[in-house]
């Protein structure tokens, strides 16, 4: 079965049809999606700028990361769920769309960067200054920010690709 037949089948399912036929559903789901991106981006901005040594340098990176990481995980779950609803409602717009799949790959990269460079900081015994990858922390923080910005741009361009 090709992606196209699968999208066509999904599009015809009662659930997908119901999502499209109730006119407040898609705008509301998209609004929640944007709000959750706001939470992820705000958290990433503050944490990455701290890891890059630009913002709130009097506070330890662990203090900053501890405050924002849980919000980021929660918002990511909300993003996945609302994103899934949008795919279910309009599979043809996303599943065969190269911008959509690029966005997914970039989300995975941002997720991996967050997991690798921030999660260890939650452990009080972890000493960032002795980590083998400490030299990579700053470039990784800037990369993470750039990836999130690209993810946001891809999200808007899905509609035009």
């Amino acid at each position: 079965m090709s992606v196209e037949t699968f999208s066509g089948w999904l599009y015809e399912t009662p659930f997908s049809t119901a999502l499209r036929d109730t006119d407040w559903v898609i705008p509301t789901v998209q609004t929640i999606h944007i709000l959750a991106i706001g939470v992820v981006f705000g958290s990433a901005l503050i944490s990455d700028l701290r890891l890059a040594g630009v913002l709130a340098t009097q506070e330890t990176p662990a203090t900053v990361v501890r405050r924002y990481l849980p919000w980021m995980w929660t918002a990511l779950v909300v993003l996945l769920l609302t994103g899934l609803l949008m795919v279910l409602a309009e599979p043809g717009r996303t599943l065969g769309n190269v911008v959509f799949w690029s966005k997914m790959a970039l989300v995975l990269l941002a997720f991996a960067l967050t997991l690798f460079f921030r999660k260890p900081l939650l452990d009080p015994a972890f000493q960032a200054e002795h980590a083998r990858w400490r030299k990579a922390t700053k470039p990784a923080a800037w990369l993470s920010l750039a990836v999130w910005v690209t993810v946001i741009f891809c999200g808007r361009w899905i509609a035009y690709a």
């Binding site: 705008p27 609004t31 944007i34 992820v40 981006f41 503050i46 405050r67 946001i152 035009y160």
Partner: protein
């Protein structure tokens, strides 16, 4: 000159025509608008939540506001600039769109709420800087701001569903 004539003149301007005629212009402007909105909401919600009593990366509310306000303002300026470009591309239709009108009122209300906060509770911030939860006036300002910005984003998204592009 009535407002509609002015709006029509904006629509007829070279800049508006250029945005309409270049297929990539509108999506690029929208992309920067979304980035700006997300940065406004992402940073202001951290301050609002602190005003509501949620801990932040700073012990005090004053330093948190000092940390984040430049980002909020910078992002807001980008949102206004990109918003004006989108408005110009279809001025008459936006001006007559109910969701757009409500959105502008909601932004105005958010601005007044912030102004009121800065003229009242923020003046005495040294007295409650590290208090958790902060005084009632600060909590109300935070809750109002959060609710209004969520409303602004919701209305903005609704414009896209009620206004046909370059209709």
């Amino acid at each position: 000159m009535t407002l509609d004539i002015l709006l029509q003149q904006i629509y007829d301007s070279q800049l508006s025509a250029a945005i309409r005629e270049n297929n990539n212009a509108f999506p690029w402007i929208e992309s920067f608008h979304v980035l700006a909105i997300v940065a406004v909401f992402g940073t202001i919600s951290v301050v609002d939540l602190r005003l509501l009593g949620y801990r932040s990366h700073r012990r005090g509310a004053r330093q948190l506001i000092v940390d984040l306000l430049p980002f909020t303002w910078g992002a807001f300026a980008l949102a206004v600039a990109t918003g004006l470009l989108m408005f110009a591309s279809n001025a008459v239709a936006y001006a007559h769109n109910a969701q757009f009108q409500w959105k502008m009122l909601a932004i105005l209300a958010a601005g007044l709420n912030m102004l009121f906060f800065h003229l009242t509770a923020h003046r005495r911030i040294v007295d409650w800087d590290e208090d958790l939860p902060p005084p009632r006036a600060a909590r109300i300002a935070g809750a109002t701001s959060l609710a209004l910005w969520i409303l602004v984003i919701f209305l903005g998204r609704w414009i896209g569903f009620t206004l046909s592009i370059f209709g």
